[in-house]
């Protein structure tokens, strides 16, 4: 085990290498660039491929192609680049090709504040591509977690045969901390088809609803398309096939929500007010909650580690507790995850504490919101 004092972005790249990523295609964009730079330095040493593409659309398409060839692949970007990747993210979901997309979020809209933090792409992560789909997205709060969750993202991508998002932010991406580059997480690899080639149907699944897609060049002669397709992968433009396919694509994530969802709770057992936060904001919220406790305010923290699928059941259970009076959602946006929290709040007062300007909340800003909520 090696411990290094590195930035979140470098930790992310190291996590990807540990997970077995051997193909990176990307387009430089602040504040994600160090991920590409570290991959450019390291991937050749692992016989992996690094390529700086002409744009983000090409980057996303290239990692899907690499995945189709059987290689674990990844790209990293930030807000505007993330927008450009949305169409091919949909292709990855539709073709069911595993890959990892890292978004080190910055402030928008548009070019926004290129070097400063935000959490403004959380809903784009959920709904940015067209059509109805479910996505897996993880939200690291520290460089260590960028390492750990990048590995987990690759594992989930392989396991569920789908693109997985790592939704970090500029502060976590650029902060330097001690990171343990451990091997404690089991590395998972996609399944290889076992059925005879003649009888093989690429999108035929068992009860887990997850197909086993052969790598290109292994003799299965598969056809994958972004069009609505049947179990053979052939286009089938009709309502019945669309319903069956889209339902399965959604179900394979939602039916496993319980095992996908990870959260961390701090002092929630007897909490009268719970702060719901993720990414860099969750760390400041933890300090604010501790401050509240030291002032005899029964505050707690729910930190989201998996943000999509949304931890509905956890929140609904917390919100249904009689003692709980209010929920507070500090976010580096004008309300995205806030609406999800409100949806699960069972009528409890829910307050958004937005923050613009590219900086994180101060501890006092969150503490004040906590204090205000209990003095009502």
């Amino acid at each position: 085990m090696v411990e290094r004092f590195i930035s979140g972005n470098v930790a992310c790249a190291e996590g990807a290498l540990k997970a077995g990523c051997r193909f990176f295609a990307g387009y430089p964009i602040t504040p994600s660039t160090e991920i590409a730079e570290h991959m450019a330095l390291e991937l050749p040493k692992y016989d992996g491929i690094f390529i700086q593409m002409e744009d983000e659309l090409a980057s996303m398409a290239a990692i899907l192609g690499a995945s189709a060839a059987g290689t674990k692949s990844m790209t990293a970007t930030s807000g505007p680049g993330f927008s450009l990747m949305m169409e091919n993210l949909g292709l990855g979901i539709m073709m069911e090709l595993p890959c990892v997309l890292v978004n080190i979020q910055r402030a928008g809209p548009s070019t926004g504040l290129p070097t400063l933090a935000a959490q403004g792409d959380m809903m784009q992560a959920r709904w940015g591509s067209h059509g109805s789909y479910e996505i897996i997205a993880l939200t690291p709060s520290s460089p260590q977690e960028l390492y750990d969750l990048t590995i987990r993202a690759f594992n989930l991508a392989e396991e569920y045969s789908t693109p997985v998002l790592v939704m970090s932010d500029e502060i976590v991406g650029h902060m330097c901390e001690r990171v343990s580059l451990h091997s404690e997480i089991e590395i998972k690899n996609r399944k290889i088809p076992s059925r005879p080639k003649a009888k093989y149907r690429v999108y035929e699944t068992g009860e887990d609803l997850i197909p086993t897609i052969p790598n290109a060049g292994t003799g299965y002669r598969i056809h994958l398309t972004g069009l609505t397709h049947d179990e053979r992968g052939y286009p089938a433009i009709n309502a019945e096939t669309q319903e069956r396919l889209v339902k399965r694509l959604n179900d394979k994530i939602t039916k496993n929500a319980a095992s996908l969802v990870r959260v961390e709770q701090l002092f929630t057992e007897d909490a009268e007010v719970i702060v719901v936060a993720y990414g860099i904001t969750a760390r400041i919220a933890a300090a604010a909650v501790r401050e509240a406790r030291s002032n005899n305010i029964k505050a707690g923290l729910l930190r989201l580690i998996t943000v999509w699928p949304f931890p509905d059941s956890v929140l609904k259970e917390l919100a249904s507790r009689e003692k709980l009076r209010s929920l507070i959602v500090p976010e580096l946006n004008y309300g995205q995850i806030y609406y999800e929290v409100e949806r699960c709040s069972r009528g409890k007062s829910t307050t958004l504490v937005p923050k613009m300007g590219g900086e994180a909340h101060t501890c006092n800003e969150i503490y004040s919101a906590i204090k205000k909520s209990v003095s009502k």
Binding site: F23, P44, E54, A58, A61, A62, G226
Partner: protein, 281 residues
């Protein structure tokens, strides 16, 4: 069915997907059959051949060919194919798509893949318009041609695709009409065995959406036009290969050169890093 009754190219086509969706008189059928003939001629290992296409009429080729095939998003066939090729250099990767897909929305990817000399063959079936969406203007529509979005005649200069491919760094560049089926087949077979970024333009009739608005109401009319105007000129300067209504259309093999591919240079770099330990402070 007895073995001798089977068409010799059956293995290369997904018969269970026939009939195809293409219109009567369309040139895509000829382009596709020339391609499968060429695969046989080039003696390629079919299991290693991967077809990637984008969106539109030509994009459907991927679904009809019985190889590993990927029907991707509009304009992104080339970067998807690049990912496949770089991740597994043993694959023989072919991008088969249309003029709108490859040169309007996908134009940037084309020039950069050519510049990098990614080892792949790009086949563009050029029918001078957007067929599947109903006949709109495209980046190859000749000046003055009528389309649904140029009702008064096209006022935009079209791309000269062989010139563009040549300027971007392609190592093999050829243009044929679907009337040149045999030359086309030979050229595809040659390009399939060529190392580096190869490009073949195939001029194909589209009577339904292009021809009927341009005094070429049947596929045969456009073939007649090729017969009248096409001039075979191997090694021609691609600058002269513009397509102008009423003038000659130059066809032939224009470029056939050798240049190291991206994968070769990359492998060399990896070798140097590993043996000389460069890049380590």
């Amino acid at each position: 069915m007895k073995a001798e009754d089977k068409h010799p190219l059956t293995d290369y086509v997904r018969e269970d997907r026939m009939p195809h969706i293409w219109c009567s008189g369309c040139g895509l059928g000829t382009a596709m059959s020339s391609f499968v003939e060429a695969v046989k001629k080039a003696k390629l290992e079919a299991d290693n051949l991967v077809i990637v296409s984008g969106i539109g009429c030509a994009g459907r080729v991927a679904g009809y060919l019985n190889f590993d095939s990927y029907h991707t998003t509009h304009g992104r066939a080339i970067p998807f194919a690049l990912g496949l090729k770089l991740a597994n250099p043993k694959l023989k990767v072919v991008v088969f798509s249309g003029d709108g897909d490859l040169f309007a929305i996908g134009g940037n990817h084309f020039i950069h893949a050519a510049r990098r000399n990614i080892d792949m063959l790009v086949i563009c079936v050029n029918n001078f318009n957007y067929g599947m969406t109903g006949g709109q203007v495209g980046p190859t529509t000749p000046l003055e041609a009528r389309t649904t979005t140029t009702p008064y005649g096209n006022i935009e200069h079209p791309f000269n695709l062989p010139y563009l491919a040549c300027a971007s760094g392609a190592v093999y560049v050829a243009r044929w009409t679907v009337l040149d089926a045999r030359r086309l087949t030979n050229s595809i077979a040659e390009a399939l065995n060529k190392k580096g970024f190869s490009f073949i333009e195939i001029l194909a009739p589209c009577p339904t959406t292009y021809g009927k608005r341009n005094k070429l109401p049947t596929g045969l009319d456009e073939l007649e036009l090729y017969k009248k105007h096409a001039i075979l000129k191997h090694g021609a300067d691609t600058k002269e290969a513009d397509i102008v209504i009423g003038k000659s259309i130059i066809t032939g093999k224009f470029i056939d050169i050798e240049k190291p591919t991206f994968s070769e240079i990359y492998a060399e770099m990896v070798h140097k890093i590993k043996s000389a330990k460069i890049g380590e402070e």
